[in-house]
Symmetry: C2
């Protein structure tokens, strides 16, 4: 890290996952579940950063309930770094709050925005690339982001359109100019994106200097900028009431929509560090150990001519007989049995529960 470049990590921990029901609940979203390892995804995220960013410069943003969970899971993060959103209003307000907090400490501090519920299989590569991105952000007047090389025509991710001509290199890392941020495409468009080679999945990881973020907001998001100045003022006064007022007024926009799609000069590096957003139960098939019949099981199991199943039942014995490609998840009060290729529909269960008055299972 270049001397003088103070790197801050901002962990976005406010997500409310629905696709890991029945394990995830309203009060216990994905980042607080030990699904990719024996530790929760939040703990994994903190542990992954620690060799690069001291705890004193790791911040989190989440609501009050979630922040209590964070303090319990990551007690080494200073209490003042656990930023509590008065209410959940998408990522732009969260990042405005977090970047303003860094700005008050050091306007030239570099902020790395990291979701709390992604998996990174190669943490060494991740840290090397994050260091290079931070140095780039420290030296350039650019927002920096990581793009993931698409492996299939996903309609579930936003895309980053970039020019393959290298703009910058640092520590062996290439940075390319972003042309465009694109929202989730239809399947045909996703296929075109995949084939062109000019598009990467938007990982939701961003790196920027606090002062650059403020200037980009002022220039490219003038409707949003007044909330920045109000937030800085409220933080200076340590006024919770003012902050609550800001979060009442501020539009609930994503940072992609509020700023990234509008800002100019943004750079993108390839996030080829074994990234997965662990979007649903079937994602775990590639993460958990599997038996010879490709069954990935957390818990004790006996298997008879069954294959390709994902099973989470740590408290009981599971017997699988003749079944293929199922997701089986058991928790204290609920059991899910789902076809693996239908795991995106698990969220629809929540709608059914809501409508049928079974809200205690949400």
């Amino acid at each position: 890290m270049k001397r003088g470049t103070e790197l801050y990590a901002v962990i976005l921990a406010g997500g409310v996952g629905t696709r890991f029901w029945p394990l995830s609940r309203r009060t216990r979203p994905k980042q607080f579940l030990p699904i990719t390892s024996e530790r929760t995804m939040l703990e994994e995220t903190v542990a992954r950063l620690r060799p690069l960013v001291p705890e004193g410069r790791i911040l989190t943003v989440a609501n009050a309930d979630q922040s209590r969970a964070i303090r319990r899971l990551a007690p080494s993060i200073p209490r003042e770094n656990v930023l509590v959103e008065p209410r959940g209003k998408n990522t732009a307000p969260s990042l405005l709050l977090a970047t303003a907090s860094v700005h008050l400490r050091n306007p030239e501090g570099v902020v790395a925005v990291l979701p709390s519920d992604h998996r990174i299989a190669k943490p060494d590569v991740f840290r090397r690339k994050l260091r290079a991105a931070a140095e780039t952000a420290a030296l350039e007047e650019s927002l920096v982001t990581f793009g993931i090389r698409p492996t299939f025509p996903s309609t579930g991710y936003g895309y980053i359109h970039f020019t393959r001509r290298k703009r910058k290199a640092r520590r062996g890392e290439a940075f390319f100019s972003v042309l465009d941020f694109r929202e989730k495409p239809d399947l045909e468009t996703a296929g075109e994106f995949l084939n062109s080679g000019d598009y990467a999945w938007n990982s939701g990881m961003f790196v920027w200097r606090a002062s650059v973020f403020a200037r980009k907001l002022e220039r490219h998001a003038p409707d949003f900028f007044p909330f920045w100045t109000r937030t800085v003022a409220a933080l200076k006064k340590r006024s919770r009431a003012e902050l609550a007022g800001i979060f009442e007024d501020i539009p609930a926009l994503s940072i992609d929509y509020a700023l990234m799609e509008k800002a100019e000069g943004t750079l993108v590096a390839e996030g080829d560090f074994g990234w997965s957003d662990v979007g649903a139960w079937s994602s775990l098939a590639g993460i958990w150990p599997r038996d010879g019949s490709r069954n990935a099981v957390k818990g004790d199991a006996v298997v008879l001519e069954a294959g390709g199943n994902i099973c989470y039942n740590p408290k009981k014995l599971t017997a699988l007989v003749g079944v293929r490609d199922l997701v089986v998840v058991e928790t204290k009060d609920a059991l899910l049995v789902c076809r693996k290729d239908r795991d995106q529909d698990v969220r629809k269960i929540l709608g059914l529960l809501e409508r049928s008055g079974k809200k205690k299972f949400l």
Copy 2:
């Protein structure tokens, strides 16, 4: 019932089911499970008999553990009627003990042998037919049995070969001469049996006068007859030690093999009273109420494009997403997920558990 015909019911409750695992366990076989209704199958069996046979003449045969369960579930049956086998040795020893017990009370008493783990959808018809069979047994020197008209070429049942020429009629019931008892056939033979119309499934229900049973044993099963005389003597003396000795010595044969296949003059009536031996989980699909997608569920469930499933999970919510024709059973310590057409293989799980040292789940 003809005056003077004293009908006794002997409920065979010693079975050790394996096909309803994980609900059935070594210590809790099928007859002690509330799977066909809110009551256990044993309770259903007793309740079905009560309008015809007073509790004082209902007997049960089972081992000591099972007999404790019987006394708890059917406290109205006199304690001396709960016959305890010193050890489990198949049905011939059980029925020798039970028939000898009746013989001591009334040698001309009629014994109706009834499994404790069959379902009878039409109990009124059952009682009418049982009454007719009892009167026939009281008047004839015949063993009487019920045959079930086959609906498919089952290889899982024994068959009764009979002549379709009516031998006797009583109370509107036809009784036919049995030609032969046949053990479980291969599929080809089962198909021939089905097509011929001369074969019925052996229901395991028998009716005989105690004295006739003894005489048939003496004539057709001379190797077995000495155990009869020893049992009658032991019961007269109320000697548990003698009874234990008999059960050490007696061969572990089924009544089919020990007597029915050898006896002459046996009669069979059609058991068309909605009989099912409830042989495995999939049998319950026809018994439990089903939703519009043919899901039979015991417990609370939400269903999303799932059909033909059988689910037992009374304590928790079950969510089924996109899955078809599964058996899903959850108990306190185990969960089974099995293809419905593989439910006969559930017993193989027990072998796997035994071999892998997970005996606590047996």
